[in-house]
Symmetry: C2
Subunit: 292 residues, 2 copies
């Protein structure tokens, strides 16, 4: 059968992006819905994919997700603060499509897409980080999405507070983890204004770079990724890219050789499309796994 | 040809362990040499493997190693403090054997061995950490050794100093990285005595557990390993295992579910043999890769 129809779903906390392609990746249909309650939103998505007679489905979703092998609640949303979604059995909800499904986190999907056709094209390893409402990251290692006992939660790595920073941190679990110190809401809480209003304040971005570099140093020591792709709302402050590179070089202090920093820490190659492209690649993988 | 002879070399800073097995893993010959200069030591190892007519070779070596794809100095030792070995072309030195060779770090080899026949047997992911003269770690991810642009350097993750700890850290590159705060020489430098003499001092091990748990929290967030195996000289202080587990639970603060901590953080299953067993598994992999 050579008439595959891949369904891709980028499930975000704000919106749901659904795309259907043919086996060559040509977009056949698409639909974007606001993320309301599961009861309102999911049936519409199921209908959309049914109407398009997809043959496999890939989902890159906001999280945290339960991806524990053998878990009774495998494929459901875990303790998300998103109202109505906590514990929602996401994977289960698409069973009625009766097609192979591959589910992972949005950032894992984005990492796969960037490694396949984006900024890390042709590389068998990369890291995709988003700095937005939270900090999340996904990785490709030896050509495959990195998962273990569940999906990584890289945004929560511990960081060392800067000696001039007295902010107690904004993560309800850890206070001063990377997300607690450097995600958008942490910037807002520390400085009393949203990042977009602080563009001109150099101290803000110097400190931001200090924490992001510290997280990237940890990722570098642990994963040795061939490329680090840095995206998300906060990275709209383009000056951050060079600040992060400088801080990273300073913190690594020559212990590992990351090569040209401009080639190591880069912006996404697929812009806003990494998520949905990742979901479509997952659909292809789901088909392959079902056949093998 | 069903008469493979696997050569395994565990290349350590103190000693070199060489073993030859048949294709079923039966040990046929072995030799252990002190690690003197490369010129004194390596020819003896080459002779040993030649005499045994090995058909492939696996090496798990101390490091850091240059394992960068396409590097002119691929397979050589990088900036090791071990006298005479800095820049030594380790892989090159065994070319005259004319057999397929697989080279990685000692800890990567140990992780592979623990995942294949040790404490993580049957799991497709694990982390092997040694806390000794340095802190090193190797990982298996999706059944394969984790490497990226080079091998990981997990011991150098940044850590947050404990509020009661004024020690400036012992890593020449980073001061207060995990290795700089918690490896054997850091204990010696902070307390003025070697760890073995401090067994009775609870403060020492409580603080040690604080730093080890912080490193393991970072590894957990980033890699989501199915098992964390903790070995090396410092872990001879057996009380550390439960202290590390308690600290880890405290620091994760419920954000990720590692299951039963006694099953998550464990001692090596292969004791001192993980290194050489890993090297022998690498020899098997080298054979397979040469055939494919
Ligand atoms: N131009 C900007 N400069 C700094 N911060 C920004 C900018 N635009 C958005 N942000 C911050 O990024 C966060 C939203 O991130 P985004 O990646 O767009 O969404 P999400 O993480 O929810 O998917 C908010 O905290 C917002 O303050
Ligand atoms: N019983 C012990 N208690 C505490 N520390 C120990 C003990 N035995 C060895 N060490 C420490 O472990 C380190 C050596 O680690 P080891 O794993 O044996 O060697 P290496 O890391 O050099 O391969 C030294 O710093 C030593 O002080
Ligand atoms: Zn956190
Ligand atoms: Zn260090």
């Amino acid at each position: 059968m050579n008439s595959a129809r891949y369904g891709g779903l980028e499930a975000g906390g704000t919106k749901m992006i659904c795309v259907v392609t043919d086996e060559n990746g040509k977009w056949l249909d698409q639909r974007t819905l606001p993320t309301l309650s599961p009861e309102e939103t999911i049936p519409q998505i199921v209908d959309f994919f049914k109407k398009n007679a997809i043959t496999s489905l890939g989902i890159g979703s906001f999280g945290p997700l339960d991806l524990k092998e053998g878990s009774h609640t495998y494929g459901s949303l875990a303790s998300t603060p998103k109202k109505g979604w906590k514990g929602y059995p996401l994977l289960e909800a698409f069973k009625s499509l009766e097609v192979p499904i591959s589910l992972t986190t949005d950032v894992n999907g984005a990492a796969l897409a960037e490694a396949t056709k984006g900024a890390a094209k042709g590389l068998d390893s990369c890291l995709y980080i988003t700095v937005g409402t939270g900090i999340g990251a996904g990785a490709v290692v030896n050509g495959t999405i990195l998962e273990g006992f569940s999906h990584p939660e890289m945004g929560h790595v511990p960081v060392k507070p800067h000696e001039n920073d007295t902010f107690e941190g904004h993560c309800p679990y850890h206070g001063t983890c990377a997300e607690g110190m450097a995600a958008g809401p942490a910037i807002q809480a520390r400085w009393g204004k949203a990042g977009v209003e602080l563009s001109e304040d150099d101290r803000v971005w110097q400190l931001e770079a200090y924490y992001l570099a510290q997280a990237i140093a940890a990722y570098t020591y642990i994963l040795s990724p061939k490329k680090v792709i840095l995206g998300g709302g906060v990275m709209k402050q383009k000056q951050l890219y060079s600040l992060v590179r400088e801080e990273l070089i300073r913190q690594l202090n020559g212990y590992v050789d990351i090569g040209d920093p401009d080639e190591y820490v880069v912006a996404p190659g697929l812009d806003e499309h990494a998520g949905i492209e990742g979901a479509l690649l997952l659909a292809k993988q789901a088909e392959k796994m079902a056949l093998s």
